[in-house]
């Protein structure tokens, strides 16, 4: 074989070796963040549309760095609880992972840490989920939102609701009840006024 031929085959061999060695395929380059931990603990339904990156992005938007630092212990305790839960606690809803109503104490503690006083909101969510079959996590997400200015109004409203039976009324229908007979009507007005 000529020297040119040898050079050509050497090049080919080098290229093949580079390919077979897998090149320089990289691993994830950052240590896990709190939101990585959260998504690792919650995306356990093995559902078709579960997207870890989207989950982390949503988590970052929903929880400021201050909240994550301040509530690191409660965050960790909640994640640990989910991680130790049986796989059967995770299912798929609309091709996304859904968590059963487990780790309620840890979740309540986290909600209380993020937004002091929101424990009553969480309790009301649990009651509603159990009585009406609604999704706890959807309701739960709303508990951590009130601004400090609205916090007292929210606490008053949820504490009031806890004193009444759960109302599973159709949310899409207008409530035509007399205000005097509507539970926590004035507390609800307080929340609405605050939101404005």
């Amino acid at each position: 074989m000529s020297s040119q031929g040898r050079a050509a085959w050497s090049l080919l061999l080098t290229a093949a070796l580079a390919l077979l060695s897998g090149g320089c395929e990289s691993e994830y380059s950052l240590p896990p963040t709190a939101c990585d931990d959260y998504c690792h603990a919650t995306l356990r339904g093995n559902c078709a549309d579960d997207a870890p990156a989207d989950c982390v992005r949503d988590c970052e938007k929903a929880n400021t760095a201050t909240v994550r630092d301040r509530c690191a212990a409660a965050w960790r305790a909640r994640d640990d609880c989910w991680l130790t839960a049986a796989p059967s606690a995770f299912s798929c809803q609309d091709k996304h992972s859904k968590i059963a109503d487990i780790c309620l104490d840890e979740r309540r503690a986290f909600a209380e840490c993020v937004s002091p006083g929101s424990g009553s909101c969480f309790d009301q969510c649990v009651r509603q989920a159990q009585a009406c079959g609604s999704t706890l996590s959807d309701c739960e997400a709303g508990c951590s939102n009130p601004t400090p200015a609205c916090r007292s109004a929210s606490v008053a409203f949820n504490t009031c609701l806890l004193g009444y039976p759960v109302d599973c009324g159709n949310g899409s229908e207008p409530d035509t009840r007399d205000p005097a007979h509507t539970p926590c009507y004035y507390e609800a007005l307080g929340v609405l006024a605050c939101d404005k």
Binding site: L11, A15, G23, L30
Partner: protein, 649 residues
């Protein structure tokens, strides 16, 4: 002799003796003779005549690489379609198997131009991985110019795919292909002494097969080509060429008919060619109509275009040729948003694709210089002036390529060039061309390498390349930034850069044993808003190999393998997106086997069985990762079987 347009002078007696020694006819597309004494071969005793001239025409080797139609016929997975075969070439990174959008040397699909017979093709393939929109029988060869490309072509920042039309037949020829999803036919025949007529087309009936996979979907596509050539004199030719295509892929969702892919385009061109003493001048008038439906068919864009163009190719001496040309074009765009309810989307379309008239004036000039000692250089310059809605832009594109023939087997080549392009749609579609907006994209390209002719007619080509794309409009390639940074939208311009090495080892597939090995090692990145990430379809390794063997008695088989490494995964943090995990690699095997029955002197009937992705591998569409794990979304298997009958005379 170096490929290119060359003038050969020979004496009549010499010509006669050559003709006896090699009785095989010269193929019409590659050679034309003028001034030949018709009595020559039969009258060897004739006195020595003045020298006659034979013009040998062939494609110049100006940095392109590709396949001839004859080779593509033997290439498994190409469905005998030259345009489909370009995905097998080095430098081409597929998005997905069977999806006709390619990244070329890191440049997005919208930055690569496709030309048929010098006319831009606004779409390349029919829906659902279907065949190309031009009948394969009308395509003599396809060449990919992944780097600095010839200055005759322009308005694309990255590369060009050039499909050369077959020359008009000297004797009647025809082709017929009947497949499970569509049928096509071509007839090419002389009419009288100086006229030639070519008609071809394709019509689909793929719905019964499509309904096996999705009962709610319907597909319809067709295309046509017509060419009339009239030789006016020995030096003058007039050609009328018309071609077009239609595609409609629809489905029904909640009782509403949606158009998932809907396009039409038509072109009609009248070309006058006049032979010069050492070259040719070509004048062309072109008209076109393009239409695309977007957003489930709620948006319709129309483009009525016209162009006048002149090209001159003339030899100045035995070592110098010049090529020059100019064109002026006008595109009248219309936008119909009557069916679109979303006000935000309406506004976006009005800004990006408003009704308007765009003008482009272009000119180019290039010299082919033989400097002696095996050195040839081609400097060129192209300028395109754009006007759109009161905005103006000028792209000046200098390009140069050089070749040094070290020996009869080894040559070195280098090329450097600049190319400009108006902004492009994320997914190219007929008429869906954005306004100038934030100005032209600019491509700066460099490549260097060698070509080596090995024993047994095996050729090796190795090329190093580097490309930088400025003011790049590539919403797909920079998706990994826009996913993680809300400030980056699909309109945000960025910068792209890619570099790598390409290898092509090839023995013509028309040989009894033929095949090729291609390999591309590359890195392609996007920089947007101070973030630098890999392009969304940056595949570090792309490997292809094919082998074909003629078993005799009309049996021929081939196998082709394709292997490519994964694309960057979606991650939440920009820091992780700089060097993210990758999806799993993908490989597929394509098979082809054919039994050909001879018919007459040159005709045949073939039974062909071909399958793309015979291993039924599922391809990874995307991956989403956090610090613990990645979740891949797969599609497919995208497997295209083809059982057909092909006939030609």
């Amino acid at each position: 002799m170096r490929p290119g347009l060359r003038r050969v002078a020979a004496c009549l007696l010499v010509w006669a003796s050559v003709a006896r020694a090699q009785p095989a006819p010269i193929e019409p597309p590659t050679a034309t003779a003028s001034g030949v004494d018709p009595t020559g071969p039969s009258n060897p005793a004739a006195p020595v005549s003045p020298p006659i001239e034979i013009i040998v025409q062939g494609p110049r080797n100006d940095g392109g690489q590709g396949f001839t139609r004859a080779e593509v016929r033997q290439l498994p997975g190409a469905l005998a379609d030259p345009l489909r075969a370009i995905e097998a070439l080095p430098g081409v990174t597929p998005t997905l198997s069977g999806v006709p959008y390619f990244f070329v040397r890191g440049a997005p699909p919208g930055d690569v131009g496709y030309f048929f017979d010098g006319i831009r093709l606004p779409a390349l393939f029919h829906a659902l991985g279907g065949p190309s929109v031009v009948h394969p029988g009308l395509v003599e060869s396809v060449e990919l110019f992944p780097g600095p490309y010839p200055v005759e072509y322009g308005k694309f920042a990255a590369g060009a795919v050039v499909a050369r039309a077959s020359e008009p037949a000297l004797e009647p020829r025809g082709e017929l292909a009947v497949r499970a999803t569509d049928s096509s036919a071509l007839i090419d025949t002389p009419v009288g002494q100086s006229t030639n007529l070519t008609l071809s087309g394709r019509y689909s009936y793929a719905n019964p097969i499509l309904h096996l996979f999705s009962a709610d979907m319907n597909v319809a596509y067709w295309d046509y080509q017509a060419r009339v050539g009239q030789r006016l004199s020995a030096d003058d030719r007039l050609t009328l060429l018309a071609f077009g295509a239609h595609d409609a892929l629809t489905d029904t969702n909640d009782g509403k008919l949606r158009t998932l892919y809907g396009i039409d385009f038509h072109r009609i061109g009248l070309r006058y060619e006049h032979g010069l003493s050492e070259g040719q001048v070509r004048l062309q008038l072109l008209g076109g109509w393009d239409r695309s439906l977007a957003r489930d068919g709620d948006v319709r864009v129309d483009d009525l275009s016209s162009e006048i163009r002149i090209d001159v190719d003339q030899g100045l001496s035995h070592s110098t040729r010049f090529r020059a040309g100019a064109s002026v074009s006008r595109d009248q765009y219309a936008l119909d948003l009557a069916k679109l309810d979303d006000p935000d989307a309406r506004e976006r379309y009005r800004i990006q694709f408003p009704p308007r008239a765009d003008f482009v004036g272009s000119s180019y000039f290039a010299l082919d210089l033989e400097l002696g000692s095996g050195v040839s250089v081609t400097p060129g310059l192209r300028a395109d002036a754009y006007a759109s809605r009161g905005q103006h832009a000028l792209g000046v594109d200098p390009r140069i390529d050089a070749e040094y023939r070290v020996s009869s087997r080894l040559s070195l080549h280098s090329a450097l060039g600049v190319a400009h392009q108006p902004p492009a749609s994320a997914v190219p579609s007929p008429g869906l061309n954005p306004t100038l907006g934030q100005g032209l994209q600019t491509g700066l390209q460099y490549s260097s390498g060698f070509r080596l002719r090995l024993p047994s007619d095996v050729g090796l080509q190795v090329t190093l390349f580097q490309t930088a794309l400025f003011n790049l409009s590539d919403s797909i390639g920079q998706a990994r930034v826009s996913d993680t940074d809300d400030r980056v939208t699909e309109d945000t311009r960025g910068m792209g850069r890619s570099r790598g090495v390409e290898l092509l080892l090839k023995r013509s597939l028309t040989r009894r044993l033929g095949g090729f090995l291609t390999y591309t090692l590359s890195s392609s990145r996007r920089s947007v808003a101070r973030a630098s990430v890999p392009s969304a379809f940056d595949r570090r390794h792309v490997l292809g190999a094919a082998l074909g063997y003629d078993w005799g008695r009309g049996f021929r088989s081939g196998i082709r393998g394709t292997l490519y490494s994964g694309i960057p995964a979606d991650v939440a943090y920009l820091e992780a997106a700089r060097d993210p995990p990758r999806t799993s690699p993908f490989y597929r095997l394509d098979l082809r086997t054919e039994k050909r029955f001879r018919w007459g002197n040159s005709g045949y009937i073939s039974l062909v069985f071909e399958v793309i992705n015979a291993t039924l591998n599922r391809e990874v569409l995307s991956a989403s990762c956090d610090a613990y794990a990645c979740k891949e979304r797969r599609v497919g298997p995208i497997t295209i079987p083809n059982v057909g009958i092909e006939a030609a005379f």
